[in-house]
């Protein structure tokens, strides 16, 4: 089967083509916009840090799953919004802690990310282990399998509910960014000056970290960890090479994201490949094309 066959068959076109595209478009608009700020503030590794600290959140979710069946008699749920909520809360806490720790001049953000990333992963490992033992002790089936679905979700297997999740988060992120755009831009442009002018830089940075955590967790759940972190860097990195006008940069990063999404979906369906890696590779190629076209590192 190739792309045309999928599109001709109405029973396949929605779940395999249009629905993943719709979910992907929400993710791309959300992360593509954030990626401009990520590149300008050199926060590229926050995506890595937050996505990997999700392990800790998965550990808590597993524990909470067993606890809810042990104490409340509920049936353990695999995945779902319950788990997503716990992972999200944990990742937001980690992201805020990264910003807070690196706030002091002696510790840089990459150190903070390195510390929290491994700490959260180790915590997650222990908690999943503990929850399995607990589940075994009370005769429940272990729920520890669901971390794979969180880390390596696929845009091909998304459901109708995921369209809602993707677009609700996208609108939340874009709306918040629009609302704080002026202090956020001032902070991004010149942090020391912004602080001296009275911009509440800690709060502004906190808002950005929360939005980044939201974008990472949602895209990770729906598209997998590699596309999630890639979308937080690549569209902005490409767009900032093409223009130095804010609205153009934002427009280009969205266009690049959506274009890459459509191209990679077509590629994936035509050649029967995974769409996530296709998207990342298409955008990576786009990055090098933009870099070459602009003339390498020679700056005017």
């Amino acid at each position: 089967m190739n792309l045309v066959d999928y599109l001709r068959e109405p029973a396949l076109a929605w779940p395999l083509v249009y629905r993943p595209l719709l979910v992907g478009a929400g993710l791309v608009l959300m992360s593509g916009t954030l990626s401009v700020l990520v590149v300008l503030k050199r926060l590229g590794f926050v995506g890595q840090g937050v996505s990997h600290s999700a392990f800790g959140g998965i550990g808590f979710a597993a524990l909470a799953g067993v606890a809810s069946s042990a104490w409340l008699g509920l049936r353990p749920v695999e995945g779902g919004l319950f788990e997503l909520g716990i992972v999200l809360a944990f990742c937001i806490a980690c992201a805020l802690l990264m910003a807070e720790v690196s706030d002091r001049r002696t510790i840089r953000i990459d150190t903070a990310i390195g510390v929290l990333l491994v700490g959260a992963m180790a915590l997650g490992g222990l908690l999943v282990d503990a929850s399995r033992q607990w589940a075994g002790a009370i005769g429940q089936p272990a729920t520890g399998r669901s971390w794979e679905s969180v880390l390596f979700g696929s845009v091909q297997v998304v459901g109708d509910q995921d369209v809602l999740v993707a677009w609700a988060s996208a609108l939340l992120v874009l709306g918040t960014l629009w609302f704080v755009r002026r202090p956020m831009l001032f902070w991004a442009l010149d942090e020391p000056a912004a602080e001296a002018f009275g911009v509440p830089v800690r709060r502004v940075r906190g808002v950005l970290m929360v939005l980044l955590a939201l974008a990472v967790v949602v895209s990770m759940k729906l598209a997998g960890v590699v596309p999630a972190t890639a979308l937080l860097v690549l569209p902005g990195a490409i767009a900032l090479q093409c223009s130095a006008r804010l609205w153009r940069v934002l427009g280009i990063s969205m266009l690049v994201g959506v274009g890459g999404l459509v191209a990679s979906m077509a590629l994936a369906l035509q050649l029967n490949l995974q769409p996530g890696p296709c998207l990342v590779l298409v955008l990576t190629v786009g990055f090098f094309v933009a870099w070459r076209v602009r003339g390498g590192n020679d700056q005017a």
């Binding site: 300008l40 002026r182 831009l185 991004a188 442009l189 000056a193 002018f197 911009v199």
Partner: protein, 294 residues
């Protein structure tokens, strides 16, 4: 309040900044960064604060900006707590030559506008008078010709003009410049002094210029004060050549003195265990000309 009367009696000119016996010690450090600093900046005056690196200049600036709360002593900016004055937009700040990302997607005009508009609610556009003011300021600092250029691709001198316009955009009463000479060549410094003189002549704004480079201060200040643990004029730090010193002295130096009440315009900072370098040694004789006109 009796305190206010004392201030009023001491100086007939309205006071922009007043520090009384301000000390500051960074948390976890033993040595203080500022010790017993008393200082008065009159309204409309241009005060230069000279000191070597590590002499407490940045700390003093942060105290005046309200970013640091002194361990002891009182700071007033236009009679208010500095953070309050800052929140009201009374303080304009020109940072040390910053690190603007080379590809930052804002034009000079947009960057300058942020200085006035960052507090504008998101749902409201920037008003026409604010935009008109920004255009006036761009003209005043000579930045109109590169106003549409990306702000990350300016030369040092151009960026400085943009930063001054941004600091003035919110309509402050005092302009604070942090190390304005860094990254500017000798020719550029002359132009910069002219620029500051032009701004002062046009707006009559109070200015505080902090620098380790006496050339940045000598050209355009009514008064110069020296801030350091170790700076004595006879133990001249780099850059403080006899000729330059003579020039500064010609401009009227209110230098290091023991914390005497002499017109309330002395900066005094030295290590706790260190002997006070002042009290005569050929500097800081307190040739203050009240009113700040040199």
């Amino acid at each position: 309040m009796p305190g206010r009367f004392v201030v009023a009696l001491r100086s007939p000119v309205p006071i922009a900044v007043e520090l009384q016996a301000v000390s500051y010690t960074y948390p976890g450090r033993r040595a203080s960064a500022l010790e017993g600093v008393s200082l008065v900046v009159n309204k409309g005056e241009r005060l230069g604060i000279l000191g070597p690196n590590g002499g407490g200049k940045s700390t003093l600036l942060k105290v005046i900006l309200g970013l640091l709360t002194p361990s002891s002593g009182v700071v007033r900016v236009f009679g208010q707590h500095p953070a309050g004055a800052r929140a009201k937009g009374l303080i304009g700040y020109v940072p040390q030559r910053g690190e603007i990302e080379i590809g930052f997607p804002l034009s000079v005009r947009e960057g300058v506008l942020l200085g006035a508009s960052w507090q504008t609610p998101a749902w409201r556009g920037v008003s026409a008078p604010v935009r008109a003011r920004v255009e006036e300021l761009l003209a005043l600092v000579g930045a109109l010709e590169f106003a549409e250029q990306p702000i990350g691709r300016l030369s040092g001198g151009q960026l400085q003009r943009a930063m001054i316009a941004r600091a003035l955009a919110g309509g402050p009463e005092i302009l604070i410049l942090d190390e304005p000479a860094v990254g500017i060549d000798a020719a550029g410094q002359g132009q910069f002094a002219d620029l500051l003189a032009g701004v002062h002549a046009r707006l009559g704004i109070t200015m505080v210029i902090v620098s380790h480079d006496i050339r940045a201060i000598a050209a355009g200040c009514d008064r110069v004060a020296c801030l350091s643990r170790s700076l004595h004029f006879h133990a001249a730090p780099a850059g403080l050549t006899p000729q330059v010193l003579a020039e500064v002295f010609a401009h009227d130096v209110a230098g290091l003195t023991a914390s005497g009440p002499l017109a309330g315009m002395h900066i005094h900072a030295h290590g706790a265990g260190e002997a006070c370098p002042a009290g005569g040694h050929g500097h800081g004789h307190g040739h203050n000309q009240p009113g700040g006109k040199a």
